[in-house]
């Protein structure tokens, strides 16, 4: 792993959490949307996260140590730029397939012949919890960045 590799891992998490917060914001904004381009009410969206490569401590350690210790027989060297990827990626944003909420409102322009309007099945509580989770994770990762910066800084102090 290169000097700034850990920072790249945290950067991917910051990016992913921001996308998550954006999706939550769009869900909350569209909580009452009854018309979409695809027709019908707005569908709640979910973000799907995926781990980028194997970043477990053991696998990194083994790949750095190489075969000398006979650990799983994996090769590698400390000097080579070992690609310990780690990090997180947003695989996609998927639509929730749950059925829309039906509310009786015959005056609404999108009301059906029976007087019911299809509204998106969005619970503001769930969305707020999700948003708080995203905010906290974002903050946590910025703290990790700060810690990594301090680590690089203190390694620079060795020169002094």
């Amino acid at each position: 792993m290169n000097l700034f590799g850990v920072m790249d891992v945290s950067a991917s998490a910051l990016k992913a959490e921001r996308v998550r917060a954006e999706v939550v914001a769009s869900n909350m904004a569209n909580a009452e949307t009854t018309r979409t381009a695809e027709g019908g009410p707005y569908q709640r969206r979910h973000v799907v996260f995926e781990a980028e490569g194997d970043s477990s401590f053991q696998s990194s350690f083994v790949s750095h140590l190489g075969t000398n210790l006979g650990l799983n027989g994996l090769g590698g060297s400390v000097t080579a730029a070992n690609a310990v990827s780690g990090g997180v990626a947003v695989t996609g944003v998927i639509s929730d397939a749950s059925a829309p909420l039906r509310r009786y409102d015959p005056q609404h322009p999108d009301a059906g012949p029976d007087g019911y309007v299809a509204y998106p099945d969005i619970n503001p509580l769930t969305e707020m919890v999700d948003l708080m989770g995203a905010t906290r994770s974002y903050g946590m990762n910025t703290s990790a960045v700060q810690a990594e910066k301090n680590m690089v800084s203190s390694s620079l102090d060795i020169l002094k």
Binding site: F4, M7, D8, S10, A11, L14, K15, R18, V19, V145, K149, V152, S153, L156, L159, K160
Partner: protein, 120 residues
């Protein structure tokens, strides 16, 4: 012995490139609200390797080849500046700059101690 060694020459190029990177990042950050603006950037390692190949220290050979960064998500106004990417880049470049400066200081402190040793 020369005061300017190949290490200090390499470090000069390194510091030059980090300030170039700083400039690019700052201009990306400045254009965060400019409609249609595309994030600019260059491959630091590849650029540094390329500049180390050239023998002249200044001139066109040392201008980083800045191009559009792909793989970023565009907003509806066509702008694709990611504040997360830019602030990470800023933090990274600051540390790189410090690394260069500290190494250079260390390099010169050797010369300085040689001078002071003679004066004593």
């Amino acid at each position: 012995m020369q005061v300017s060694t190949s290490l200090s020459d390499a470090l000069e190029r390194y510091l030059d490139l980090t300030s170039e990177q700083m400039k690019v990042t700052a201009s990306n950050m400045a254009n965060v609200d400019t409609p249609g603006y595309k994030t600019q950037g260059f491959d630091f390692e590849a650029e540094f390797a390329r500049q180390m190949q050239s023998t002249v220290l200044s001139g066109d050979a040392n201008v980083a080849q800045v191009q559009d960064v792909d793989g970023l998500v565009s907003r509806p106004d066509g702008n694709n500046v990611s504040m997360d990417r830019e602030s990470m880049q800023l933090a990274k470049t600051q540390l790189q700059f410090r690394l260069g400066v500290e190494l250079l200081k260390h390099e010169y402190s050797g010369v300085m101690s040689a001078i002071h040793a003679e004066a004593k």
